[in-house]
Amino acid sequence: MVFSRRPRQLREPFAYASKLGFRLFFLATLVFLYAPIILLMVFSFNDSKRNIVWRGFTTKYYVKAWENTGLVEAFINSLLIAVVSTIVSIVLGTLLALLLWRFRFRGKTLIEALSALPIVMPEICVGIALLVFFNRIGWPNDLPWPMNLSKIILAHITFTFPFVMLVLRARLVGFNPELEQAARDLGASQRQALFHILIPYLRPGLVAGGLLALTLSLDDFVITFFTAGPDSVTFPIKIYSLLRRGISPDINAASTVLILLTLLLAGVGVWWQTRMQKTTLYTANRPAVQ
């Protein structure tokens, strides 16, 4: 009995996920993906300049990174750029998603293809194109503090809002237009129908798209590198210039802070989305009564 059951089980369910070899391979891939990042975070607390041997726990490199005013300024710049460009991206992305979902017009397929182009275009090409563009129109280089980040913000909005648009279009596929119609029949104005029916339905998409835009903006190096002026430094640009001079432990500390920040954002995103999906299931997404 025992012998006759085993071979059939192995053949039938095609269970790749439960085969030892596949599991080990998957685990090895995770080690490959995570070990460098985890080691970086762990060794940011190491009391030694060398990064292999553990010499005891310290937070002195965090203090050192904090006292590095250039690094802190760059961090604040990055956050400001990310927040402003995310807000504008959400507005532009929502408008574009609504346009492509709601309307039928000539050249729609072309507009759809063109508006996804910033996502696939090589970053280096977008970066130098914007460099040449800002140079050509004579955008001033010596503006006072928050305004000197304007070029970077404009550039970030350009490559983030198509992502927001894609996330929202995926969400709109599941929206039942009869709901909006019902609201109108019950006496809601177009504005009310938009703000009380459609926008609440879109909220998980808005949060997901916004977090994506925020991360993409915080993350960007190449396009920022070409649009930043000499005195507008972002966090990745600062890290890059420090790295060119050699690896030092305070870069570990600063990097760890940013990793934890993005992990927090991703965590909030996942948590919020599962929560929203649960609640919207009973409000906007309910199928119309036949």
């Binding site: 790749y16 998957f26 080691l39 309307f103 040449v132 915080l218 940013l258």
Partner: protein, 321 residues
């Protein structure tokens, strides 16, 4: 699927304009106009330190055929092809595990693959520098192993291994390809997973029941049925890798320059904007070509599948009559 409202401009002109003008104007001004501008510059000539005149010359494109640059193009192509191939070899088993995992675990496993993608690219590259360097983690471990092995051999009376030589893994071709694979792997896994997820598992059971082995089922059932996903994965990995700038810059040595390195140099030290614009547009053309290739492949496959479906239903009707 739910129907989408198909309103026309005439029905809601106000809403149409409000939702169309800002985003499309933004794209036109800050994306297409700049790209068009460097397209013009690529036919231009340098007249002074910063003066450029568009004279519709092809000289910049001809300059790109210089053996120095052709060598870099081929190197870029080689790096990218190798990276894509390695990603496919690693990515397929990984995608299989996720796609065939228990439903409860799937979102979690997928999240594990995608999460590094949310970490800053520069920080990930820096993390690799710490691992691969002469005094990095891997060489540290190797040095320890070397030391213990050396001591053991000497204890047993053999000649020692001599002093430890660090394995060069950074600032060379190995470092660049390692970094490119590290960055691009999630790009490959996601489309493969999506294709495997859609796969009708009863076909696999049928193949096994009819006597094909696991390997034959993989090669003649899984691979052809997920071909669209494989092609998407290859192209989605290939395009960003082709335009990589940071990875060769930080992990490569003096002979690891890629296309983006040349472009960046023309806008930095070399200060030759028309030539840089020409190379950038060569990269854009290659990107367009690859996207078109993917679109054609997907369309042809879908039409073939539809034909096969129609034939099958036609035969059913014939049998019924």
């Amino acid at each position: 699927m739910l129907e989408t409202p198909q309103e026309t401009f005439q029905a809601r002109p106000g809403l149409f304009l409000v939702s169309a003008v800002p985003p499309l104007l933004w794209l036109a001004l800050l994306f297409f106009l700049p790209l068009f501008l460097i397209w013009g510059y690529s036919f231009g000539e340098k007249r002074g330190l910063i003066d450029i005149e568009v004279v519709w010359t092809l000289q910049n494109y001809a300059d790109a055929l210089d053996p120095v640059y052709v060598k870099i193009f081929f190197r870029t192509l080689f790096y990218t092809a190798l990276t894509t191939a390695i990603c496919l070899i690693i990515g397929f088993p990984v995608a299989l595990v996720v796609a065939f995992a228990d439903e409860r675990w799937k979102p979690f496993l997928l999240l594990l693959i995608v999460l590094p993608f949310w970490t800053n690219l520069l920080i990930r590259t820096f993390a690799l520098m710490r691992i691969l360097g002469r005094k990095g983690t891997i060489n540290g471990i190797l040095e320890k192993l070397h030391g213990s092995l050396d001591a053991a051999l000497q204890f047993l009376g053999f000649a020692g291994l001599g002093t430890f030589q660090a394995v060069p893994m950074l600032f060379n071709h190995f470092g660049v390809v390692f970094g490119l694979v590290y960055v691009a792997l999630p790009f490959m896994v996601l489309p493969l997973y999506a294709a495997l997820e859609r796969l009708d598992k009863s076909h696999l059971e049928a193949s096994l029941d009819l006597g094909a082995g696991q390997i034959r089922t993989f090669l003649f059932v899984i691979v052809p049925m997920t071909a669209t996903g494989i092609v998407s994965g290859l192209i989605i990995t290939f395009i960003p890798t082709l335009g990589s700038f940071l990875t060769p810059d930080l992990l490569g040595g003096p002979d690891s320059a890629m296309i983006a390195t040349i472009i960046a140099r023309q806008f930095g030290d070399a200060n030759h904007w028309p030539f840089g614009s020409a190379i950038a547009w060569l990269l854009v053309y290659v990107t367009f070509f690859l996207l078109a290739l993917q679109a054609v492949f997907t369309a042809r496959r879908e039409s073939r599948l539809r034909q096969a479906g129609e034939r099958a239903t036609g035969q059913e009707h014939g049998a019924a009559a």
